[in-house]
């Protein structure tokens, strides 16, 4: 933990705002040798390192199978084989996987937005017996690793008769403790006067939630939606455990795994399918990012 909480390392650099007297000597503005910040010398290579795997994946998706096994890796193939993408769609059940994943993800995101909002509002604003204890217990479940609950959850899903069906992927994740926690904390920051004013104006609890709290919580809700979308879209272990034989219930991640056999892996197809499966997340992120700014909740206050 300490690595996370420690302040980031900052190279010693004179603060241009510090007064001359503070260091005991007069500081002159430093002569600039470079037209950019020296930090960029460190950051730019780092960015290249980060982008390299992505680039490699793009390149791989455009190669022949033989080229993918070449060593050293070919980073610029002579001909670009865009037909890899068409082949993935034609020769596998890519459409079905994509549709299944979309159904599962959209259902889970929507139900999380609704259920977590309701629960979080109750925790944030309604006084009821045992509120603190229940909240604490809920939070405590965040500390339990997935491996611990994997088998019990599997047994429950099995008893519900959901194995091998999309329901097995959806039902256990309809609401998330993380979502409740995040929204509760956000709702607590909203000015209580807005809700009091609405109460006097004649709004019911539900009306206050729908008309005042939710519109003011769009940044938090958008964040939750994107996080939940990414988690669900990329989930591999749980579908692997619960979708046993029914190929028509495969998700994208399960489908992608079928390109990797015990004896042979079709890396060019893996890469092409992976790129296609990333598109929805990128689109969602671009759409949602305008909400990732400071909320407007305090703009109706004061002068």
């Amino acid at each position: 933990m300490s690595a996370v909480t420690e302040a980031p390392v900052v190279l010693a650099r004179p603060d241009p705002r510090s007064l001359p007297g503070e260091t005991g000597m007069v500081e002159r503005p430093r002569r600039r040798f470079m037209p950019f910040d020296p930090w960029h010398l460190f950051l730019a290579p780092l960015a290249v390192v980060m982008l390299l795997p992505l680039m490699w994946m793009v390149v791989t998706s455009l190669e022949t199978q033989a080229q993918t096994f070449h060593f050293p890796p070919i980073l610029w193939p002579g001909t670009l084989r865009f037909e890899n993408f068409a082949n993935v769609i034609r020769e596998s059940e890519f459409g079905t996987w994509f549709w299944n994943t979309t159904v599962v993800t959209v259902t889970i995101v929507l139900s999380n937005l609704v259920l977590c909002t309701l629960a979080a509002y109750a925790f944030a604003r309604i006084r009821f017996l045992g509120r603190g204890v229940i909240y604490f217990v809920l939070l405590a479940t965040l500390m339990v690793p997935l491996q611990v609950v994997l088998i019990p959850t599997f047994l429950i899903v099995k008893d519900l008769g959901l194995l091998d069906r999309l329901g097995a992927l959806i039902v256990p994740h309809l609401a998330s403790v993380f979502g409740i926690f995040m929204l509760t904390q956000f709702f607590r920051t909203l000015p209580i006067e807005l809700e009091e004013a609405a109460r006097i104006d004649g709004a019911s609890r539900l009306s206050i939630l729908v008309r005042i709290v939710v519109p003011l919580s769009l940044p938090a809700l958008a964040t939750l939606a994107v996080i939940q979308f990414m988690w669900t879209w990329n989930e591999f272990l749980w579908p692997l455990v619960t979708i046993l034989t029914n190929q028509s219930a495969f998700t994208l991640q399960l489908g992608l795994a079928t390109f990797q056999g015990a004896h042979q892996s079709q890396w060019h197809f893996v890469a092409a399918a992976n790129i296609m499966s990333m598109v929805p997340i990128l689109v969602l992120f671009l759409l949602a990012q305008r909400y990732f700014v400071r909320g407007i909740a305090t703009q109706g206050l004061k002068g």
Binding site: P191, E193, L194, E196, A197, A198, R199, I200, D201, G202, A203, S207, I212, P215, L216, I296, A297, T298, Q299, G300, L301, K302, G303
Partner: protein
């Protein structure tokens, strides 16, 4: 229109914190009553109990003919303006104004008509399409007022509505508020910690301290005849000068000065004199005169405040700690006093000044209880 009656109202917060204690007060129909007191005196809590935002621990609050202790806020027919305005930031001014009416399922045309009326009355018609974030402080304040007015409530509750405005705007809005009340005549309870606002706005003011009602009355009465030392110190700026004295045989001795009061009971008394009750006189003045040693002179344009000290005894007076703090600061055997003089009088700091006491302005308090002796 309705009257509001507090009957023995007490509010106890968890942890046995008493915010309001046994408050009994009647606000007449169409009256403009000010609840005033220092911060933490329970005035906002009292207001919030009328609104239904706080539960009442003991006693009853009646609006009109109905005890409202268990009536939810929306059914009390009240409207409230919050200190921070609490405008809905994601709605336009028009939707803010109409929110309450729409929640009450008022027909759409009626909502539009009411919103139009009120926005014209408050000069908001140009701003209807804007959101609160695009308004100035004064405009937001007006929208908050409008949102309350639009519903035509029985009772209007205002919680320090002007405290976030700059000084100039505050004075302007103060007179606007008064005009507005004269025009619509709704029972209004107005909470403020600003005693100038209290005196200028209210038909009656109710002074609270530590949850306890100290005095109720027309502002001038409260100013002229404070019921106790707290009110004497709180209402009026600068506050009343409070000096320690001793009464024997119808004479009160304050330092070297003797005041005549045939009815005063024997013993220690606190002598209260308003800053304007002291005026400079020449050497030949016959009546009782303080020798004031001038420290600081504050010319305010229309008047001059003179802070100084007089010869005064430091008596061991038993009184509540907060009252003690109100007493004129004693430095050794000198007591601090403040004089309010006309602008042409400009004594020099360090000089001496003879100040005559306008005897009819002198108020006496019992040092043991802090209560006024012979209140009106």
């Amino acid at each position: 229109m309705a009257r509001v009656v507090f009957d023995g109202v007490t509010k106890v917060y968890p942890g046995a914190v008493i915010a309001v204690e046994d408050l009994t007060l009647e606000v007449a129909d169409a009256e403009f009553l000010i609840l005033v007191g220092p911060s933490g005196c329970g005035k906002s809590t009292a207001l919030r109990m009328v609104a239904g935002l706080e539960r009442i621990s003991e006693g009853t609050i009646t609006i009109g003919d109905r005890v409202v202790n268990d009536v939810p806020p929306k059914d009390r027919d009240i409207a409230m303006v919050f200190q921070n305005y609490a405008l809905y930031p994601h709605m336009t001014v028009e939707r803010n104004l109409g929110f309450g009416l729409r929640r009450r399922r008022t027909p759409r045309d009626d909502v539009r008509q009411r919103v139009d009326e009120v926005s014209r009355m408050l000069g908001l018609d140009e701003l209807l399409r804007r959101r609160p974030g695009q308004l100035s402080g004064g405009q937001r304040q007006r929208v908050a007022m409008g949102r309350a007015l639009v519903r035509e409530p029985e009772v209007f509750l205002l919680d320090e509505p002007l405290s976030n405005l700059d000084a100039k705007l505050r004075v302007q809005m103060r007179s606007e508020l008064k005009r507005l009340h004269d025009r619509i005549g709704v029972t209004t309870i107005y909470v403020t910690h600003d005693q100038v606002e209290a005196i200028t706005l209210g038909e009656r003011i109710a002074v609270l301290s530590e949850g306890v009602l100290q005095q109720v009355g027309p502002p001038q009465d409260v100013y002229d005849h404070p019921a106790n030392v707290f009110v004497a110190g709180f209402i009026g700026s600068p506050p009343m000068n409070l000096l320690r004295g001793r009464a024997t045989g119808g004479r009160i001795t304050v330092g070297e000065v003797e005041l005549v009061d045939p009815q005063v009971p024997e013993g220690e008394v606190l002598v209260g004199i308003r800053p304007e009750g002291l005026r400079p006189v020449g050497e030949d003045h016959a009546g009782p005169v303080f020798e004031v040693c001038v420290d600081v002179v504050e010319p305010l344009g229309d008047e001059v405040l003179v802070h100084g000290s007089i010869e005064g005894p430091v008596a061991d007076v038993r009184s509540r700690a907060e009252d003690e703090a109100l007493l004129a600061d004693d430095e050794g055997d000198r007591a601090r006093v403040t004089l309010r003089l006309p602008p042409e009088e400009r004594p020099k700091p360090g000089s001496r000044l003879r100040a005559a006491i306008a005897q009819h302005t002198v108020r006496l308090f019992d040092p043991a209880t802090g209560l006024a002796i012979r209140p009106r």
